[in-house]
Amino acid sequence: MRELLFIILVLTAAFHFGQGKKTKLKGTKWWTLANIGQPSNDLHSNTQLYNSPSLLPLTKRQRRLVTKNPGTILALMAGARMAIEECKYQFRNRRWNCPTMDVGNGGPIFGKILQRGCRETSFIYAITSAAVTHSIARACSEGSVYTCTCDYQLKKPRGTKNWEWGGCSDNANFGHKFSRKFVDVLEKGRDFRYMMNLHNNEAGRVHVSKNMELECKCHGMSGSCTIKTCWMRLPTFRKVGLLLKDRFDGASKVVSANNGGGRKKRRRRFKFVPTNPNLKKPGRRDLVYFEQSPTFCDRDDSIGFPGTKGRECNATSIGIDGCDLMCCGRGFNSESYTVRERCSCIFQWCCHVKCETCTRTKIRHTCL
């Protein structure tokens, strides 16, 4: 009942301020925030990222964190968008293609799949927390977050001999810690899902902070390598996405282990046991889940997935993007359509390119 009242309140407020935009300055400010719930808005993602159906996308604690660290809000916005784009990219050829919803009232952007405990859920958690880590770390090294500092201690990164990293090493650490405070705060309760989500969040972050790339250049006579100068940089988020997708493919289905007398509060090490006893225990970077994924063939309102009907597929592929698998054997429609393209371009001296316009027929396959 509380929710219902709340929503109504919000809607009336939105309506009210929508009309009287210029009358109250503070009200306008508030309206921009209310806009968050609208699709095609940058802040949109924030709402869904934190699963908050409220107008204000952040919880009290998160707000406090953001206020204490000025400059992070922008990074968070960028990060959230990055997470969604990457998720869509990594899953573009699968049945579940990381659909995001245009929920007017600020519903969860990834849909109700977040309430499940399947592989896809674990990926979403990992990629979003990785994105926050990444974009905060980047903002940090760009100098747009004032509270993160560098220590120029010499450290030896893994796998390097005779080389000490003398640069600002803390950016990734800061990102990691910030993301921990910011993202994990949403997880409440002591149940198994909570443990799983925290584990997957952490896995996402670890992929960012442990994949710093070492870039080196040799200097010497005629390309020899008398001196080698190196530095480290954040991995591209595409790389993080690829790694996480790999982990997604190899994610382990787990059950909770009976952790005997471990009564320490706020412990982050959880014990999972894979359901298949032949598999090794999931490590810090592995994604875990406890529920079998649905087939994602048909419309499923319980997870808010529209099904693969109408999805485009590749008739020649035998993989998951192929029409057989994508359409779950229902068959597919093939329609031809024409496109107008620039073609047979000739470079004319000097200096412009002259092209003809051709119409080409292409075939599009969509699932029934």
Binding site: G107, S224, I227
Partner: protein
Amino acid sequence: MEGMDDFDTYYDEIDEDLIQAYLNGETIDPELEAFLSSYEKNYGQEYEEIPSLSLLEVGENCMLPVLTEALKVLLPLLALSFIFKLISNLWKPDAEEVGVPRSFLHLTSALFGILALHLVFSRDLVYILYCCCLVYLVLIAVHVLRRQYCGIAVSAFIVVYVLLCELYLVDETAWHRVRGAQIIMSMKVIGLAFDVASGAEEMPSMFEYLGYVLCVGTVIFGPWVSYQDYKNLLCQDRKSMNMWWIVRIARSGAVSLVCMVYSTCFLTNWLIPSSSYRWILAYRDAQSFRFSHYFVSFASETTALLCGFRGSFYKDNESRWSVSKPYHIEVPRSLVEVVTYWNLPMHYWLKTYVFKPSRIFGTFVAVILTYTASSLLHGLNFQLAAVLFSLGFYSYVEFVFRNKLSRIFNACIQAKTCPDSCGHEYTSYHPLVLLTNVCFALLAVFHLAYLGLMFDSSREQDKGYTMKHTLEKWANLDYASHWVVLGTYIFYLII
């Protein structure tokens, strides 16, 4: 509303009272105000694709560590050079009778050189020292038997040694590290041997020899200096440490570091992102390689100046004080000029010890021999050989082609700058001549981008690049530059 219930736990932290207050237009708490203003402040910005790296990020994450690292190698080297300079100055007898024995100075030079080698290469310095000692044995033996064959014998020995090391004896990573120092040393000993053979120099004693070959200012990065230069070095007095000297050193050092940072950080990661057009990328990688070379050249200049070498790296009168001239390479007149200014001491060495003696076989053969010598010096590396031979052919074609054009049009469009007394009808300031020269310059830049792009920062840079790597890079550009040169050559033959 069913679904919403499940999210209950997620939003119970949100202050409904606060929102209510806000909706009513009442004052809000300062925390939220601060949050809103920080949000509002930035809201206007567009969120476009994040650039590959920001300037500040590059500055902090790349420049600092890279500079630290380079200085960690350079500073000890500079310190050693300077101490050697002090010793050679302060202990030098002003009057002949109170002199420190010369051999002491030679020994200091050699010891400091070994120290420097150890600092940079740690255990890998043995390959340099082996070579150094063996060459001296060869030199003595041949000197006693047949003095006039000293040069040939030492050259042959060096070639065999380098090839053996490259192919069988030494681990490729280690060899790739010491190769630069090895080239310098090979040039020194071969030059010395030819001088001894021709009678221009007396056979040096062991101390003299070690002092020269391992001289601290030139043993790591070069430049090549002649034995005569080394002997002059020890005859200087304190007056040589003047203001001009200090300014020169500071300038070279600063330029060297700037080139290094530009090459490592700014060019590849900031100025030109990796998503650019392939020819722009080729230009970028080639330029990065060139600036890395300038770094080494200027660093070598700094150490050489610091330990007292003055002005005769390169014996032609103009530009006596430089190892490399970036300006003439980045904005080239022709490839011939690039080859010259790339490494002036080396150019001089090749000219004196290879090109001039082999000129009796004709210019083309001499050019080929020069480039063969150069690539043998560098070891048997396909990439270097391919680049060097391409460069040799390119510059030959360019030279003869522009010569012919110059004769036909009677204009100053040769590969080398016209002297004032060239007698051409159209001098360098004629607009058409200028235009032609600019076109040739652009062509040279194009060739340079093509030739230099494979010295990139890929994994292979530690061990030396493979043939596959080279051909892949060139195939990616459709061997365009080779075709262009071939076309030019055919055109030259026709006209």
